[in-house]
């Protein structure tokens, strides 16, 4: 069994599969920079399924409004209590968007309200160093979405452990390309994905 399997959360509402190439890109980054034993392909895991507990790190994204079912809510609450980490990325990169508003409501209802994660959190030096906090995406810099550069990620903590990380940065768009095309980039923009996974594996 590999040390790490990239899991994408499938939920009943919305478009959970809006960024299908993110998994391949993060896996590529992990294989490129670490000696982690990483599964070559990601998996899709229903949020309300017991299988969720096989994957202590889960990626969730989408554009459309998010409404968890009771089972999804209950399962996610238990998942976080046991030590799982859910990463939620707003594929709209828009603080007034439907995904953003509804996802915040659902997260608050399920595990607690989101708060800013300080930019000196260990997440930003878990593997690569990001001195200024979460790396900006081209969508933010181009003024798309809400025309803002989001300075922080948000999180929900239980004790001193982060159980939900939330991003309005739209890494789903930023990393949703075939890994072979990284050779056209001067700087690998998926490095922060390595930090996310290493953080989940060590915190």
């Amino acid at each position: 069994m590999p040390d790490f399997v990239f899991a994408t959360a499938q939920y009943d509402s919305g478009d959970w599969d809006s960024a299908p190439l993110v998994a391949a890109n993060v896996i590529d980054g992990l294989a490129r920079y670490t000696t982690l034993d990483v599964a070559a392909t990601g998996v899709v895991v229903p949020l309300g399924s017991k299988d969720l507990f096989k994957y202590p790190f889960v990626w969730l994204t989408g554009h459309l409004p998010v409404r968890f079912t009771d089972v999804e809510r209950r399962t996610l609450r238990e998942y976080c209590a046991r030590g799982g980490l859910l990463f939620v990325d707003d594929h709209n990169h828009d603080v007034d968007g439907e995904f953003h508003r509804t996802a915040w409501e659902e997260i608050a209802r399920t595990v607690g309200p989101l708060k800013d994660l300080p930019n000196d959190d260990p997440l930003y030096r878990a593997f690569f160093r990001f001195e200024d906090g979460p790396p900006t995406t081209s969508h933010e810099l181009n003024g798309w979405g809400d025309n803002l550069v989001h300075k922080h990620l948000q999180c929900v903590k239980q004790g001193d452990r982060v159980v939900v990380l939330y991003s309005s940065k739209d890494y789903s768009s930023e990393w949703n390309y075939h890994p072979d095309n990284k050779r056209f980039l001067s700087v690998d923009n998926t490095k922060f994905g390595v930090n996310l996974v290493v953080y989940a594996l060590t915190r």
Binding site: F4, T35, D37, K54, L201, T202
Partner: protein, 442 residues
């Protein structure tokens, strides 16, 4: 020619002398009687006049009488009972009580009963019980003071970045251990936690190895263990070639976990197991799964080595049924506690304070050991280690000898000073005095 008065003179002297002899005899007899009269016979009949076997104070007073020459015996049915208390080498500060009894035993403290054990006895781990702990079996009551908490060092974890290392460290930290860690992430990349990442006797109570690659650290690990450190080799590391000289067993094969075992409440059966075998003569199997050794321990010089064949234990925490987080936590804390070094324990001392009942929550740990965890802060009761009485029957036999079948009969008392002896002496003295007065002598 002597007058009649003068002729009575020898008789008077004879009467006086005889009276003095009689008085001397009476004195000797009185002294002898006084000597005999100090030896008393004391008998303790447990179950009749005494409902319970004499406690330490009474037993000591009886032993003192016996040493002073009195005859002290006892009879009755006092069940063999032994109780001991030792600190659990975990940060919980719990005490493990072990009871050995020929009959059913009830356990309690000054506030009342805690639990009961069947014939033969057993062990009980409690948190929050302070002061004297009593085990009752028939007429015997064994009392032991709760042990002072063990003084434990830090735990160092060697492994590679992954769910196993993450959740092992989490389980240990949540149990109260202070954890240093050195986790491999790349060829030259390490994730570090804590300052001292070399196993250090006196600082680290135990080293947990989760990875087979030790990168030349085997010699340091061996030195640490021989100096008294604890070593836990878990999962694949149980068969780490570099540490094969320390382990008590070899890894024979990898057995897959059983599908559905989590749902059936058998979490340890759900985990992959590196089956241990070829045990050394001095190795001890602590736990088996399907009759094959799963956890093996061995002493190496001053240290202890525990090999646990269970792999991917993090799945227990994440995929197990309700309560699995606490079970996984207890599993790891107990595993490390089994190997860990503890500083010498200071004996419990008398402490005065308010007695508050510790709320106990019975639980069954995976290995079947009953554990009682407090739902509130540990409390203090008034107690003294001097009141300890761990083996009442043995102490009674030691102090007074074995039990007698029945109370010995009391011999008839002899008169200290016979009446006739005194009367005769008095009569002779009066006659001598009268004779002297009759002849006008003083």
């Amino acid at each position: 020619m002597p007058s009649p008065a003068e002729r009575r003179l020898p008789w008077e002297r004879a009467a006086r002398g005889l009276a003095l002899v009689l008085l001397a005899l009476a004195l000797v007899q009185a002294l002898r009687a006084a000597g005999r009269g100090g030896q008393r016979r004391v008998h303790v009949e447990v179950g009749a006049a005494d409902a319970t076997a004499p406690g330490p104070a009474r037993r000591d007073s009886l032993a003192a009488l016996a040493r002073a020459g009195d005859s002290v015996t006892w009879s009755g049915d006092v069940a063999p009972l032994i109780a001991s208390a030792e600190p659990v080498r975990e940060p919980s500060g719990a005490t493990r009580f072990t009871i050995v009894a020929d009959a059913a035993a009830a356990l309690g403290d000054s506030l009342g009963p805690i639990d009961s054990l069947e014939t033969g006895g057993g062990s009980l781990t409690t948190e929050g019980v302070r002061g004297l702990f009593a085990a009752h079996s028939g007429a015997a009551t064994a009392r032991v003071p709760s042990a002072a908490a063990a003084v434990l060092g830090r735990v160092l974890v060697y492994g590679r970045v992954g769910w196993e290392s993450k959740f092992t460290i989490a389980a240990l930290e949540e149990s109260g251990w202070q954890v240093d860690a050195r986790l491999r992430l790349g060829d030259t990349t390490l994730v570090r936690q804590g300052r001292t990442l070399e196993p250090t006797a006196g600082l680290h109570a135990a080293l947990v190895v989760l990875d087979t690659a030790l990168e030349g650290r085997a010699a340091a690990v061996t030195r640490f263990v021989r100096a008294g450190g604890g070593l836990v080799l878990s999962g694949a590391a149980a068969g780490a070639p570099a540490l094969a000289a320390l382990g008590g067993a070899r890894v024979l094969r990898l057995a897959a976990g059983e599908a559905g075992a989590f749902e059936e409440g058998e979490p340890l059966h759900a985990l992959p197991l590196h089956v241990l075998g070829a045990l050394r003569p001095d190795a001890l199997t602590l736990e088996s799964r399907d009759d094959v050794p799963a956890v093996v321990a061995r002493r190496v010089a001053a240290g202890r080595v525990v090999q646990s064949g269970y792999a991917e234990t993090w799945r227990w925490r994440m995929q197990g049924e309700a309560g699995s987080v606490a079970e996984h936590r207890a599993f790891w804390s107990r595993l490390v506690g089994t190997a860990a070094t503890a500083a010498p324990v200071v004996p419990a001392t008398a402490t005065d304070g308010p007695a508050v009942a510790p709320a106990v929550t019975p639980a069954v740990t995976p290995a079947g050991t009953r554990a009682i965890a407090p739902a509130s802060t540990p409390t203090i009761t008034s107690a003294s280690a001097l009141d300890a009485d761990p083996a009442p029957l043995a102490a009674l036999v030691d102090a007074l000898g074995p039990a007698v079948a029945a109370a010995p009969s009391t011999p008839p008392q002899r008169e200290a000073l016979p009446t006739w002896l005194g009367a005769a002496a008095l009569l002779l003295l009066v006659a001598e005095w009268g004779s002297r007065r009759a002849r006008g002598a003083a």
